[in-house]
């Protein structure tokens, strides 16, 4: 009895909750028969166990495992794990692992090794069965019937599906990184990228692996660059979820820690460059792309190098620094070609086409677009193939070679319609781009229909409304039809100054009335150095002097387009003033 008092006194004196919990847990385990104790400790290593897993963990107890498993299930800290057997309650498991790692490190690693062996064998044998099944269905081109049959097979074979599931693959890597750290790090990094690059990527699988690895990191069981990769992929997930602050923090932390892994250091800087691009912080973006470029080059990683150059090209293009952009696209093109990254090659060719077109070098532009189109065609990338065909058509039209232009437009239309027919997720873009093409061809009713389809599928995306608004405002005599679409844009993004500006402009044009609410909102949300839109706003408000002051400043911006200024309905109220021609230049002939 006194000893019990002593035990309770110890419990009271324990400094931490973990210490308190461990005292009773350990006493319970110590009181179990020796073989059951062994099984308890081993069962803490995996996240779940069944008879097979317990046998793999404790081959020396193989003959007794059935009985020991039954006894294990009766312990207060063992619970059921859906479809997979049982698990040690996480509170107890964490303490058991802490104890094992600290006191019996060799045992911990050898148990992990046993599990690696088990999972490897299980994955290999079951993958073979599944692959055999799959080949048959591949031969049938995954017809409706074949997929139905395959689903039935999946439902009837939960053991096989469980064995090769992503959860099992993640579990294998979780143990591998302890059993064979170097192999484990490589495997985890590879698996991270597989999830990331998968056409059916969902954050859940990547997050699940990240969490598993975090378990080891928090308990100081692993060190080195794998910690950086884990953080890096957390950043990737934040980036895709548009949580740019957290993405920035993750990438910066990786960079700050200077892990001895060239690719990690380069990748983190490259991704950070993209975060800053999205945040319109172009100076920082450029700095990180350049840093990444040097690191990729040092690591002799041509793909990384090409991607950095392409991203720098895009960055300069967005700033209308065309000659710099052109130089980068010209540099990344042969790199992509050398390493046979054909989509990178096509994208570079397309971008070069755009630059030459902007510089009115139409012949060169057309050649680039044609080359890009051919690669997209090879890659079965119908939308980009169609986009190229549209622009090639535009270039022919520019030189009044209308029959040739129409031929390309027809090809583009056919390609968009093929994508739409496939009913894939990219049909939204196909509808939208088809609307754009049909508008160009003055088939306004069909264009309206295509635009409306893309809005119908993607109604919460503000940019989907732009094409139809443009159609009503600039290509019909019913600009008022754009008003409900603009209202919708404001509903999606209440800070949309362009939509407020457009509503004010159309209302003034139709009703000769100035809508104060929209004017105020446009004024509130317009960026302070957006001189062109400020000029539009003051033009609508009849503040002529201010409008010209801003317009003059706008002409110094890289992207200023004088021919658009002559057509922009927002500037119609100041166009008759002689100052307009003086600032913008003479009206273009066409």
């Amino acid at each position: 009895m006194n000893t019990e008092r002593e035990f309770l006194r110890k419990l009271t004196k324990a400094k931490t909750e973990d210490e308190k919990t461990w005292l009773t847990t350990k006493r319970l385990i110590d009181s179990l028969p020796e073989d059951l104790q062994t099984v308890v400790y081993s069962a803490a290593i995996p996240h779940w166990f069944d008879e097979k897993i317990l046998r793999a963990l404790n081959p020396e107890l193989s003959r007794k495992i059935k009985r020991l498993y039954s006894q294990l299930k009766e312990l207060p800290f063992v619970e059921k794990y859906e479809n997979r057997g049982h698990n040690i309650h996480e509170l107890t498991r964490r303490l058991l692992l802490m104890h094992l790692w600290k006191k019996q490190n060799v045992k911990y690693r050898s148990l992990s090794k046993n599990l690696v062996k088990f999972y490897k064998a299980s994955l290999n044998s079951n993958v073979k069965i599944a692959e055999k099944k799959l080949i048959k269905h591949k031969e049938q081109n995954f017809s409706k019937k074949s997929i139905k049959e395959l689903n039935r097979w999946i439902n009837a074979n939960p053991e096989i599906v469980n064995a090769i599931s992503l959860a099992s693959q993640n579990e294998y890597l979780y143990h591998l990184v302890i059993a064979q750290p170097k192999l484990g790090v490589d495997g985890i990094r590879r698996q991270f990228w597989i999830y990331h690059n998968s056409s059916i990527f969902s954050h859940a699988e990547l997050s699940a692996l990240i969490e598993l690895i975090d378990e080891h990191i928090v308990s100081n069981r692993i060190k080195g660059s794998i910690i950086g990769w884990n953080k890096f992929f957390k950043g990737i997930i934040y980036f895709y979820k548009n949580d740019l602050n957290n993405a920035t923090n993750c990438f910066l932390e990786v960079i700050k820690n200077e892990y001895p892994d060239k690719l990690l250091n380069a990748d983190a800087r490259f991704r950070l460059g993209h975060v800053y691009t999205k945040l319109s912080k172009t100076t920082k973006a450029r700095r990180y792309f350049n840093d990444a470029l040097l690191l990729y080059r040092a690591a002799k990683n041509k793909f990384g190098e090409a991607n950095c150059k392409y991203s720098l090209g895009e960055l300069h293009k967005s700033l209308s620094e065309l000659s710099k952009a052109k130089a980068f696209f010209e540099q990344c093109l042969p790199l992509y070609h050398d390493i046979k990254k054909r989509s990178g090659e096509a994208n570079s060719l397309y971008s070069l086409g755009e630059i030459h077109k902007s510089l009115s070098e139409f012949h060169k532009a057309r050649v680039y677009f044609e080359e890009a189109r051919d690669i997209y065609r090879d890659l079965k990338d119908k939308i980009n193939e169609a986009n190229c065909a549209t622009i090639i058509g535009d270039i022919y039209a520019e030189f009044s070679e209308l029959s040739e232009a129409n031929l390309h437009y027809e090809n583009a239309e056919a390609a968009y319609r093929q994508v739409i027919k496939l009913n894939r997720s990219d049909r939204v873009l196909a509808y939208y781009n088809l609307g754009f093409l049909l508008k160009k061809l003055k088939r306004y009713e069909e264009a309206e229909e295509a635009y409306r389809k893309s809005i119908e599928i993607d109604s919460s995306n503000s940019s989907r409304y732009v094409g139809l608004i443009d159609l009503f405002r600039f290509h019909t005599d019913k600009p008022g039809k754009a008003l409900p679409l603009l209202e919708k844009q404001i509903e999606i993004n209440p800070k949309d100054f362009e939509a407020n500006l457009a509503i004010a402009s159309i209302s003034k044009q139709i009703n000769k009335k100035l809508l104060k609410e929209n004017i105020d909102k446009a004024r509130q949300f317009l960026p302070k150095n957006d001189w062109y839109d400020l000029a539009c706003l003051e033009s609508i408000c009849d503040n002529f002097d201010l409008a010209f002051e801003y317009l003059e400043k706008a002409t110094h911006d890289n992207g200023f387009d004088s021919s658009w200024a002559w057509n922009d309905p927002d500037l119609q109220w100041i166009r008759d003033d002689p100052r307009f021609t003086k600032i913008v230049g003479a009206k273009p002939l066409l």
């Binding site: 312990l75 207060p76 995954f142 109604s459």
Partner: protein, 253 residues
């Protein structure tokens, strides 16, 4: 060896029973507690003592890995399969993209829903998810009374958390035949779109542990039970470990 005895959660069981028999306005029950407080056992009890004629599915997010697609799929399977979900099937119609590619990346077992929810960007995914959620609720509204229990909410993927706490619960609020229980170390935060009963679990008082030792044939002085219960604030897992350990030691430390 002592048997796992359902722990004393009479108050919570009463709240649950009243909710599923329609005596409370709320049809959403959130059970929040730290690890080892007996949430899973309690949620298991809910499944056990629910009215017989109510359809029922329980999902445990333990282990992560559950994407929204996977969640839809598991719910559909547990609630009667394809034939009970005609609207969901209609929404997925035409999605034939084979998503099973084990030769390159071992993605075997991915389902049709996963393919449907794989859009080119986040926005596209959200649109599809919304359409799928509407179809799913159209189907479950036709199932009669239905109880859905979600356990280990804190381990669910961020996108699943967001979906459950926004789209799912707001639609459940507007589905008079649907009852939802969510348990976890964290649970969805309050939202104007839905009402709920929020029940944090506390430690189990001394009196229950006296019954526990009696039922399990453990001979121990009440003074020790009281002392341990005070040290652990009645934390169920820690108390059980203590009492079972004491018992197995033959009453000697």
């Amino acid at each position: 060896m002592t048997r796992q005895t359902p722990i004393d959660r009479e108050e919570e069981l009463q709240i649950f029973k009243e909710m599923v028999s329609g005596k409370t306005e709320e049809r959403i029950l959130l059970i929040e507690a730290q690890s080892g407080m007996g949430k899973t056992v309690l949620l298991g009890e809910f499944g056990f003592c629910k009215p017989k004629k109510i359809a029922f599915a329980k999902i445990d997010f333990k282990g992560g890995n559950t994407s929204i697609a996977e969640l839809f799929s598991r719910l559909r399977d547990k609630l009667g399969g394809d034939s009970k979900f005609p609207n969901l099937g209609k929404e997925l119609k035409g999605i034939l993209t084979p998503t099973i590619d084990i030769s390159t990346n071992l993605m075997f077992g991915k389902n049709q829903i996963e393919a449907y929810l794989t859009g080119s960007d986040e926005q596209e995914r959200q649109i599809r998810l919304s359409a799928l959620t509407d179809a799913f609720f159209a189907d479950i509204r036709a199932l009669g009374k239905l109880l859905l229990i979600f356990d280990t909410y804190e381990k669910s993927d961020e996108s699943v958390k967001k979906w459950l706490s926004d789209s799912f619960l707001s639609r459940a609020q507007n589905s008079p035949n649907v009852f939802v229980v969510i348990g976890g170390q964290t649970v969805p935060e309050d939202n104007l779109e839905w009402d709920c009963i929020r029940k944090p679990l506390k430690g189990i008082p001394h009196s229950h542990w006296y019954k526990y030792v009696e039922n399990n044939g453990i001979i121990i002085h009440v003074e020790y039970i009281r002392a341990c219960c005070d040290i652990y604030d009645g934390h169920p897992l820690k108390m059980k470990n203590y009492l079972d350990g004491y018992h197995l030691k033959g009453g000697r430390a």
